[in-house]
């Protein structure tokens, strides 16, 4: 009997919740929400936060080798922003009832996922340009839409992040533009980076809509407002002219403008590669996890010192 009342209560609450979503209302941490909404959102937000944190590693690789002091300062500021992005999203995710330390444990133990793009190596300086321009460019397309999602803390974190991403995007594009105005070797370096980062950037939007298992729920709850394929198309449409403007070739023979649809058509994405990287067999999966674990372990004395200092002053 009691069980039945509780169930009916949940059904009524879920109907109210769906009505609020349909009306475009924002869900806040203390609002009732279906358990699946909480779980899916927590999964998505923690993966997003992990991606910001792991995303610092491929770029950190070039901090000591940036070609000038100015480039070094800019790259450092960009990477510091990414640490901030991780913090904003972790604190948003904590409102769903999981401690940040727990999420970080899941990352360090290898249980949690992060964006597979960061499992590719950064081989030359132009990769810093390609990452800022393409990877952060793809992130902007994604995050601009997420800034209107139904969960308040996530949406607000995205608004803050989007303001900073434009800097990341522009500094990357400028690196590429300068290389393309340079010597033949510099131009080739830029094109090589383009060739390696283009396809993985397209994969950042996730599997095609027909094979995207979690999309249905997330779209219904307005956590996702546009499908993977739509976002990917939007990224391609805005990025191709930018490449052409500085003389970079898109490594896709099938790419062509369709004046009827007013969109670019493009070639087949290698989803086998994508799935393989997700399964842990990308070029740098093991290295990234090791780097992250080492950084965490090496920072331990700082955390211990801060805690000891706080404890000492709490006693005084």
């Amino acid at each position: 009997m009691n069980q039945q009342i509780i169930q009916e209560d949940d059904i009524r609450r879920e109907e109210e919740f769906n009505a609020r979503i349909a009306a475009g209302k924002t869900i806040e941490p203390k609002d009732w929400m279906p358990e699946r909404y909480r779980r899916q959102l927590l999964r998505m937000m923690s993966q997003h936060a992990h991606s910001e944190v792991v995303g610092m590693l491929p770029e950190g690789n070039w901090l000591t080798r940036a070609p000038s002091l100015m480039r070094k300062a800019v790259l450092l500021a960009k990477i510091q922003d990414e640490a901030g992005h991780g913090l904003y999203i972790y604190s948003g995710a904590e409102t769903l009832g999981t401690d940040r330390s727990e999420m970080i444990d899941q990352l360090l133990s290898g249980k949690a996922k992060y964006s597979s793009i960061f499992n590719y190596p950064t081989l030359n300086w132009a990769d810093m340009g390609a990452i800022g321009w393409l990877v952060d460019g793809a992130a902007i397309v994604n995050q601009t839409v997420l800034a209107k999602c139904s969960y308040g803390p996530y949406a607000r974190a995205m608004v803050r992040i989007c303001k900073e991403e434009n800097f990341h995007n522009k500094q990357g594009y400028q690196i590429m533009a300068v290389l393309m105005r340079g010597t033949k070797a510099q131009q080739e370096m830029a094109q090589d980076a383009m060739n390696r980062w283009w396809w993985p950037s397209l994969m950042m939007f996730g599997p095609p809509d027909k094979d995207s298992p979690n999309s249905g729920d997330l779209m219904r709850w307005k956590v996702k407002l546009q499908s993977n394929d739509d976002l990917r198309q939007r990224f391609i449409d805005r990025t191709v002219p930018q490449a052409e403007a500085i003389g970079l070739r898109i490594p896709d023979d099938k790419l062509k403008w369709n004046p009827q649809t007013r969109h670019y058509e493009f070639g087949e994405i290698n989803w086998e590669e994508f799935n393989n990287v997700i399964r842990g067999n990308g070029p740098c999966n093991k290295l990234r996890l090791k780097q992250r674990r080492d950084a965490h372990a090496e920072g331990n004395w700082v955390r211990e010192a801060a805690a000891a200092y706080a404890a000492k002053h709490a006693r005084a």
Binding site: E28, K30, D31, W32, A77, Q80, D81, G84, L87, Y88, S91, E94, D99, R100, S101, I104, D105, L108, S109, R156, A157, R160, E164, R293, H296, N300, R303, E304, A306, A307, Y309, A310, A311, H313, A314
Partner: protein
């Protein structure tokens, strides 16, 4: 693996320019108020967003709940006369 429990959370309020009210910016984790201020500066003030920062232990905040949003704010709902445009002014008056 993080071999420690989590530091407490602090809510961060930033004042954008001199003379303005402090606004909620977000939160940080820190072992004490002093570190919370430094973390808040690094996370919420990297682009001159603040001339002054407050940090408050998150646990010290008491909030109204969304469940009683109706009854809780009810006293304000039937007092439209608290707005000046509730009152019609006679025709011909230019300014009041």
């Amino acid at each position: 693996m993080s071999n420690q429990h989590q530091w407490p959370a602090w809510e961060v309020f930033t004042q954008k320019t001199d003379g303005e009210a402090h606004e909620h910016a977000g939160n940080v984790h820190a072992p004490d108020a002093e570190m919370a201020l430094l973390n808040a500066r690094d996370v919420y003030g990297r682009r001159q967003e603040a001339v002054n920062i407050w940090v408050v232990p998150s646990s010290a905040i008491t909030a109204s709940t969304p469940d009683d949003v109706g009854p809780f704010f009810d006293p304000a709902n039937d007092k439209m006369y608290r707005w000046p445009n509730y009152f019609k002014t006679p025709d011909g008056i230019k300014q009041i």
